[in-house]
């Protein structure tokens, strides 16, 4: 249902311009992402859950490509699929000996998890509706890597540097926590 609603939304955004292929691609990816996300939280095999997460993240990258933000899309693949989920898998492989169904996976806290999920959904939906409402977002030309870097290093230089210092602090913190000496 969400995919269909979003489809209509996209048609409206493009104000009559036929973007059939994009819409079909969007619907396919959105449905795949939703199914993979559901399977991710329901499967009892931790490695399979990580792989479903890869499908969801790849779908996000695909959506970025559809919107013409290819630098963001490729970065999504490199950072999330290429680094973060690989680290997850590393952790699982190095700590877990057995294969198949994992008895250690419990669903005791499913109520709390569901509440948190709803809360996040609510906050994001409210923020999106509040900031855009009926505004028609102009469909802009694909943003090139140069444009992205220009805006990061001029308009958004302060938040960018703040985030990088934060990441550096987290990195050093991780090393301090992990090292014994």
């Amino acid at each position: 249902m969400t995919a269909l609603a979003a489809l209509e939304g996209m048609d409206r955004l493009t104000s009559g311009e036929a973007l059939v292929a994009q819409n079909v691609a969007f619907a396919i990816m959105a449905i795949t992402m939703v199914v993979a996300a559901l399977r991710m939280v329901t499967t009892r095999n931790v490695v399979h859950a990580a792989l479903y997460l890869v499908v969801v993240l790849a779908g996000v990258a695909g959506q970025f490509l559809l919107l013409g933000a290819e630098f963001v899309g490729v970065t999504q693949v490199m950072v999330y699929i290429g680094a973060i989920v690989v680290l997850f898998l590393f952790g699982i492989m190095l700590t877990k000996g057995s294969f198949g169904e994992d008895d250690g996976v419990s669903s005791e806290k499913r109520l709390m998890a569901g509440l948190v999920g709803l809360l996040v959904f609510g906050v994001m939906a409210a923020a999106l509706v509040d900031s855009f409402e009926d505004a028609e977002v102009a469909r802009e030309a694909p943003s090139t890597t140069a444009e992205v870097s220009d805006s990061i290093f001029s308009t958004y230089i302060v938040p960018f540097e703040a985030v990088s210092v934060l990441l550096l602090a987290a990195l050093i913190g991780a090393i301090v926590v992990a090292r014994k000496d």
Partner: protein, 414 residues
């Protein structure tokens, strides 16, 4: 097709490609040319992989003073074909304790990225002009696609290729493949950082991510290998060799320690897919190295008739030099120890390529601001030396403290 034309009409640098072929309206003829390019690239890659496997076996045999494959066809050139047919008809085993779905998926996760990388490599085109060839009255690049993110696409695919190795080892349900795959993925991730930093230096000198533009800035012998000051090229070669899991960095398949590495449990066609992916990666890595550092297909066009053959010839010669080098390394160098491998990656290659990246960036700034170059280089090199001294001092101190601790707690003689 409507989506394609809309996007292509949005600007010179649309999502799909900057290829002049895809600007404006797209008719059946253009689709035909694209399909033709895809089929040619696919077939070319497969045939060259077949010849590469034969070439490697033959050359290593020569260097070992053996004969090598000699029975199938002239000089044994059909040996790979025979091996392929043999593997095709072997029994397909899936271990009992394996994770069947993932076990079946893993070979494709290795093979598909290996194929896709070749799509962004320009293999021909007259780069003394705008790097196009004219086919059936249409101007086009001699590469399957020229995405504006170009080389980042290569980095993204090489990070996906880790999954093939990792999941193959894990899903086999057996300990040696698991150990092999943990080694392999740790190695590939570690060296990807150095590889990316070495490539980033090329972005600085060429000013573009697109492979076509990178080649276009290297015409008339102005190759990036010199423009970036050789060091990134050397880092790329070492990191690339490690990324390919080739000797001297082939700990992934150290036969003496791991039986066969991550693909121990694979047989038949699935094993053949891994084998194919491995050699295909050797060829695509060579092609990427040629594109980034050695000017790709650019070179003198010596005759007027059949002028389009020359760039392809230069490209093939350069790639062949790399392939020869990779085989030579295999026949010459002993394998690294695992801690040496990690030390080389994290403590030498990454700091070196990062420092060099900053140096080249400083030189670009000096160039733009009109500062004299020599003081910038001297200050930059001095800064790098200071950094190297501090880093090695910190590493040595941490090591001494660790050994002292170990000595105190467990009585190991440091």
């Amino acid at each position: 097709m409507s989506a394609v034309t809309t996007l292509a009409g949005m600007g010179d640098r649309a999502v799909l490609a900057a290829d002049p072929l895809l600007r404006g309206d797209i008719d059946l003829g253009i689709v035909g040319i694209v399909v033709l390019k895809v089929v040619v690239a696919f077939a070319l890659l497969l045939v060259s992989v077949m010849l590469m496997i034969w070439f490697e076996r033959k050359l290593v045999a020569d260097m070992h003073n053996r004969i090598g494959p000699a029975v199938a066809g002239p000089f044994g050139i059909l040996q790979t074909l025979a091996d392929g047919i043999k593997l095709f008809f072997k029994e397909d085993l899936i271990p009992d304790r394996s994770d069947r779905a993932v076990f079946k998926l893993a070979p494709y996760l290795s093979l598909v990225p290996a194929f896709l990388v070749f799509a962004i490599v320009p293999i021909g085109g007259d780069f003394s002009g705008d790097g196009t060839v004219t086919w059936f009255g249409e101007r086009t690049y001699l590469q399957v696609a020229d995405p504006p993110v170009g080389v980042l696409f290569f980095l993204a695919l090489s990070s996906i290729a880790v999954y093939g190795v990792m999941l193959a080892g894990w899903s086999s349900g057996s300990k040696y493949p698991l150990l092999g795959s943990v080694r392999a993925s740790a190695q590939m991730i570690s060296y990807e950082a150095a590889l990316g930093l070495a490539i980033a230096t090329v972005f600085l000198t060429s000013g573009s991510l697109s492979t076509h533009d990178i080649v276009a800035t290297q015409v008339e012998g102005n190759w990036n290998v010199l423009a970036t000051g050789v060091v990134p090229f050397l880092v790329f070669l070492v990191a690339g060799t490690a990324e390919l899991n080739r000797p001297p960095f082939d700990l992934v398949e150290a036969e003496q320690e791991l039986v066969g590495g991550f693909h121990t449990e694979y047989s038949s066609l699935r094993f053949a897919l891994f084998f194919l992916a491995e050699f295909m990666n050797v060829i695509t890595m060579s092609a990427i190295a040629v594109t980034l550092f050695l000017g790709g297909p650019s070179g003198p066009i010596l005759t007027d008739t059949l002028g389009w053959v020359w760039p392809i010839l230069w490209f093939s010669v350069k790639v062949f030099a790399f392939l020869f080098g990779f085989v030579w390394l295999r026949a010459t160098l002993p394998r690294f120890r695992y801690d040496q491998l990690m030390d080389l990656g994290w403590k030498v290659l990454i700091p070196l390529s990062l420092g060099w990246f900053l140096l080249i960036a400083a030189m670009r700034v000096a160039d733009a601001e009109g500062w004299p170059v020599a003081p910038v280089v001297v200050v930059g090199l001095a800064g790098m030396t200071l950094g190297a001294v501090l880093l090695s001092g910190a590493v040595a101190k941490a090591r001494a403290e660790r050994l002292a601790d170990l000595d105190a707690t467990e009585g190991v003689d440091a």
